[in-house]
Structures are given as C-alpha cells and as structure tokens.
Symmetry: C2
Amino acid sequence: MKPMKLPTEARLRQLIEKNNIKALREFCETGHPAAVAEMLSGLNKQEAWTVLRNVDFPVRAEIFSHLDEDFGAKIIGILKRDEAAHLLSDMPPDDRADLFKRLPEEIRESVLPSLAKAEREDIRRLAAYQEGTAGAVMTSDYAMLLPHLTAVDAIDHLRHVAPDRETIYYAYVVDENRKLLGFVSLKDLILARRDAKVGDLMNRDFIFARTDEDQESAADKIQKYDLIALPVVTDEETLVGIITHDDAMDIITQEYTEDMEKFMAIAGPHEDAVYMKTSSWVHFKNRSIWVAMLAVVGLVSGFIVQSFEGILMQVALLAAFMPMLADTGGNTGSQSAILVIRALAQKEVSPRDIFRVLIKEFRVGLLLALILAAIAFVRVLLLSGGTQIPDHFSLSRIGLAVSLALGLQVITATLIGAMLPLGAARLKLDPAVVASPALTTFVDITGLLIYFMTVKWVLGM
Amino acid sequence: MKPMKLPTEARLRQLIEKNNIKALREFCETGHPAAVAEMLSGLNKQEAWTVLRNVDFPVRAEIFSHLDEDFGAKIIGILKRDEAAHLLSDMPPDDRADLFKRLPEEIRESVLPSLAKAEREDIRRLAAYQEGTAGAVMTSDYAMLLPHLTAVDAIDHLRHVAPDRETIYYAYVVDENRKLLGFVSLKDLILARRDAKVGDLMNRDFIFARTDEDQESAADKIQKYDLIALPVVTDEETLVGIITHDDAMDIITQEYTEDMEKFMAIAGPHEDAVYMKTSSWVHFKNRSIWVAMLAVVGLVSGFIVQSFEGILMQVALLAAFMPMLADTGGNTGSQSAILVIRALAQKEVSPRDIFRVLIKEFRVGLLLALILAAIAFVRVLLLSGGTQIPDHFSLSRIGLAVSLALGLQVITATLIGAMLPLGAARLKLDPAVVASPALTTFVDITGLLIYFMTVKWVLGM
C-alpha cells in the first residue's frame, strides 16, 4: 500500500522557481485533485498558474474545480482569453457556474464569446437560479436514458457518456420532452436481463427536488434516503439537473456553520465566510449589528436596576448576586434553546409538540433550579463576611430570597429558551434566529424583574 | 411522475386493526424503506411488528435497518428466537452490530446460537471496536477483487455479489492475505477493455482509514475527496471494512450536534441524544454538571463585586451597568470563539496561526469596543435622571469611566474568545470544549475587575 505522497510547500516553491515542469506535472497527476488544490491555495495566483499550466486539460480543470472560488476567479483574471475559456469549458458545470458568478463583469464579457454556445447557455441557465436553492447547486452533467432502451444498450450508452458525467451510477429516465419518469441505478442495469427494457426496470417512486427548493431541504433528502444523487426538476417536471452526494455533504456542512453563526447572532452571508479571508471590517459589520442592538435593548435592564436602587443601597450584598443571576439564566436558557433547535432540525420534535416539550423542560428546569438555589444559598452565607446588613434582615432570610429568585429565574429561562425556537418554527422562521445573545438579553430583563420583586417580597421591603 | 404516496398514521393504524395484510405489504414494498421506517416509529413495538411480519425478508430487513436502534431493540425483544435471528442475518452488518449492542444480555445470549457462524463472528468483530472509531461505523459488506481478474470477469463477479453488498460502485483490490492494494470503481471497469487486468486498472494512491481512527476524521476524508466509500484497514493494512458516503453524512451531522451541545456545555454521550426519548433526569444530569460548576466558580465574581461595595454605595448608578457589561462580554467573546472553532473544524486556520487570528480579532474587537462604548456613554446620560451622584463626580466623567471599561472588556473578551479554542486545539483538545457558558463566566470575572478598576482610576476614588 502506497499512501499518497505530496511535496512540502517549500519543495513546491523550489520546483516552481527551477521551472521543473516534469516534477510539477507529476505532482498534479499523481496527487488527488482535492489535495493538490489544497496545496496550491498556499501559493499566489501566478505561482498556482505556473503549476497548473503544465498539466493536461482534464486534470487541470479537475484540480481547478477544487480550488476556493475566489482564488479561482483571481487566477482566471491573469489568463489569456482562450486559456480561460478552455479551462472553464472543461470544468464541471456547477463549479463553473459558481466560479463565473465571482468573475468581474469585464472578464465575464471577454470570456463568454470564446465559449461554445452550449456552454454559454449552460452557464447562463445555472447562474440564473437564486443562491441557496437546489437550482443554484445542481449540475447539468447527468446521465439520461430513454425508456425503450434495453439494459445492455443503456450500459453501452452510459459507457459512452461516462467521461463527461458527474455520475453514471444513477441514470434518469425521461420522455422525449425531458419529463422525468424515473431512474435506474447502474447496479439495476448490471443485474437485469440484457434485453430488459429501461422503462420496466426503472424506479417510478423516486425522490426529487424542485429548482426553487431550499438547498438544505434537497440535501436532507439525499441524507435521509441514502442517495448518490437527487434529480432536480422544474414546475413542469422537466429534468434540469442533479445534486450529487458530495455536494449534499458540503451543503450540510455549510448550513451547520450558518446555524451556529446565526445562533451566536452573527449576521451576513454565511456561505462564503472564510474566516481568514474575510476582512476585519466585514467581521465587525457582521458581528456588531446584533450586539449593538442588544446593548441598546439592555437599557431596559439598566432602568430596572436603577428603579430598585433603593434596595441595593440598603442591602449592598444583593448586587454581588446580579452577575450570577444573569449568567445562570443565559446559560440554562441557551442550553434548552440549542437542544430544541437541534431536535427541530433533525425532525425529532415539531412545533405541535410544544406542550410535551414544555413539560419536559419544566421538569429539567425545576431540578436545575433546586441545585442552583442550593448553591446560591451557600454563596450568600460565604459572602456575608465583612458586609453590612441592616439589623432587621437575617442572613438566612436574604439567602432564602436570593435562592428563590434564582430558582424562579432558571425555570423561566429554561421555558423561554425552549418556547422561542418552537414559536419561530411555528411562524415558519428558522428556529436558529432565536440567537443566544438575544435570548440572554431577554432572560436578563425577566431575571432582574424576578430578582428584585422576589427579594422585595421575601424581605418585606 | 408519481410522487411517493404514504398512508397517514391514522390510516396505518386502521389497516393494522383490520389486519389488512395485503395493504400493509403494499405500503412497505412501495414506500422508500427510510420513509416506511419513519412512519413505523409512530407506532408501538407490537403494531410495528404486525406491519413488518407480513413483508418479505429482504425488504423487512431493509426497513428495520432504518429504524432507530433503541426501537429496533425493543421489537427484537418481542420476537421468537428464530424470527429475531432471521431478521438480524438479513440486515446490513454495520446496522446489525449497532443494534446488537443495544440488546439486553439475555436476548443476545438467546439469539446468537441461532445465527450462522460467519454472522456470529462478524457481529462479535464489529461490536468489538470502540464507539466513535472508524472500526465501529464500518460495514463488512464490501466488494473485493483479486488483481489478476480481467475487467469483464470483475464485472461478472460484482454482478454475482451485488445483492449482498452495500455498494458495488467501488471494489477493493486485495492480495491473497486481504492486504489492500488499491481500488477500482465500477465506472473504471465499464470503461476498460474487456481483457484489461484489475491490477493494472486499479488506483494505487487511495485514501483509507485505520480501524482506530476517529470516525470524524474518516468522514472528513470522504467529504474532502468526494468518495462513495472509504476502505478501513488494520495496522497490518488488511482490509476489514468500508464506510459509505451515507454513513459519513450521518457522522458529520452527529459530530456537529455534539459540537453544538459541547459548546453550550451540555455533557453526556451526544450520539444517542434523541431529545424526546431522553428522560428529564438524564437531561438534568447532562446540563447541570457544568452550569452548577460555573455557578460555584461565579463565587469569584460575587467576591469582586463585594470587595468594591464601597464604590457601589457611593455611586449606585454604577450597578445599573453591570448586566450590560456581563452580557456584552459574553456575547462578543462567544462570537469570536464560535468563529474560531468553526474555522478550526474546517481547517481554515491552525493553532500555528494564533498571532494572525489575534491581530484580526484585536481589530474587530477595537471596532466593536468603539461602537459599544458610544452606546454606553449615551446610556449613562439617559439613566442619570433621578439618581443621586456625589457632587464631586460629573455625569460625563462617569460616562467616560463606564465607556472605557466596557471598551476594554469587549477587546479582552474578543481576544480571550479567540485564544481559548486555539489553545485547546494546540493541546490536542476539541476546541469546542471552550464552552460558551464557561467563557461567559470567565469573561465576567475579568470584566468586573476591569470595570471596577477603570471606574476607580477615572473617578479617582
């Protein structure tokens, strides 16, 4: 067994400097295109092109399609028009359309006329679908079969088209108007009698996506039904593309990152968020919107504290428990929110289950409240040394007040944390919009009200 | 085009009650196994078995392998020994081994002797790998070829074994000791000359995983290299299983849920965390550990507030900004933490980039500090009405103190949020252990120190 060997980055630069074409070709042709592309990302656009220029066309295009799109667009920018056109025409249609969208207007205008008419139209069609839909991620390199073919003729046809197709393991059966009728797997064809008709072999109960369907929903179908590819159809049920399992995996990863960032109230298009390549200014814009808005909303908590200033002046010790109250409420609320968001995403619960979820969360919240109230009570006793307490309040009474308030806060926060994502889902919003910082700010306000009112009541102030 | 039709749950129950075997069979045989399994999950074990009992063996096993493992184990529990053995022997080996681990000891003991020797050994072998490793998620139903076969003989062999193999699209080439030499795709075989030798056709530079490798690392390889399946080998490079693309997708989803839960400081085995099926008590245990520990650590922030009690007594207004300080620090710190954690997970940054990351975060933090300090200054002016300020402090001086403290807190929190996951990664820990609640508690402590010290210094107290 020979594990893949790649040169180090230093060695690669050396080869480029020496213009050692033979070694560079070998590097590109023996390494996996994804691994080669990863190494090229460490170079500048000129160096990367020096490496790619010497490689045969299909391999070059394959490596290129694994490059980060922005880097790819930069390289296209330094090529001659014909070189760029040739490279684009060899790329898989979906990657090509994505790359094309990143090219500056003038390069697009200059390259398009050098492409064959079919490719020009393919790029235009694929680039027209809205970002985030099944149409925008599908590829047009799929294998089609007509129903009257025999199994052996179908395999022959697939063999013929294989080099240009993303996959030949699934072939889609269409009528003369490209209306999707079903699909056959290469396995079905190989197992069938030689003269069996494709129309009889095909699976008629197939899963598909519409072009305007959310890319996440399409990827979920691929995951749920263990598919290698999913056909994408228009409203007229015409087959226009497929989404392959590897693209589905990338969509799912991208959606996760998006969910996580949303949950932390980070705005902006999450798709291309490449951490190091995003400028500090864009990072700032994405992160500041919500945080700043919440700081303004936080005014309310300031007003609450201020309106109970009298109580704080009398029992200064009470201020020492405000940070714990804020943190514990935020933590327990965010925990139940994240669990409910994940359960919603994995279809384990639906908005209709709201009462079952709330009962469960109430029980969990009650248990959490008991343990945290106990900790708070001990804290009051520990922190009491050196502070001045008005004579008519006993320390245990203050402990009772703080514990009770914290317990109520934990139960409320847990319930709010579970309720908000369920509510968002019911309103057909993404449950992850119930961002943890927003929840924390909200729970802080309810928490301070609970705290001061409970303290006032228990201490009879 | 005929979209998949499934009966409603009510209709399904009706069919079961009427014991309408024909309709139940049709339901199972026309629906996708994953969809049928999903519907069965709504029934009780007895009802589910009534549906499955009437279906032919291979279909029954396929539906069964899509059921949640705990539910599957419950159904196995009510079967006769021979029924259980037959069902298990038809299942894909990886699902079977997973299900087997869930069965109570006495059922395992009773079923094992009814299984064929090869299956018994297969179960024992697969169940022996540690949870979370490539060995534990692989399946032993892969297609093998010897290098001296011709392409046409190889296709013939694959046709022969296809019904029992998870995939025949990749076939693994081994020597007589099962040492992995390379792999061929079915596409390679179909495109090759009929008499080409498998040994000449095979890819020798292939990607693989070791049995004890982390399942996440194996799934990442499938994602990075767009594979349909990944071979798993022992330390002696003997082929023992494969991981398929659909299992890789499930692993990635599971690891993501785990990361999210870890980030929210939720403990426990994240793999089987099915929200509704987990008891409130287990939820409580998983969530309370960290939250309770942090509440204890939070004692420190209480001590800090208490030791600056004198300042609060003089300028009570200062207490009103403590919640904002705590929230803003937690929010900005968690944001930079989540971005760095995701960037680490997607290999966009490595622990070696720590200085580049910190410079970027410092810039972002500085910008955030400016905007939040401005908001804080306005807040001081707005909240000043009705409060008593000692004569020798001007309102704008208090505003300056609060703004400066908040700005410093935001910069510190942003840097700490970025630094902790990078530090964890350098120590080869999962960056997600830097849970948001822990970070919040930590940043609270630093924040309160910054706050009181800045205020003391600016106001000259």
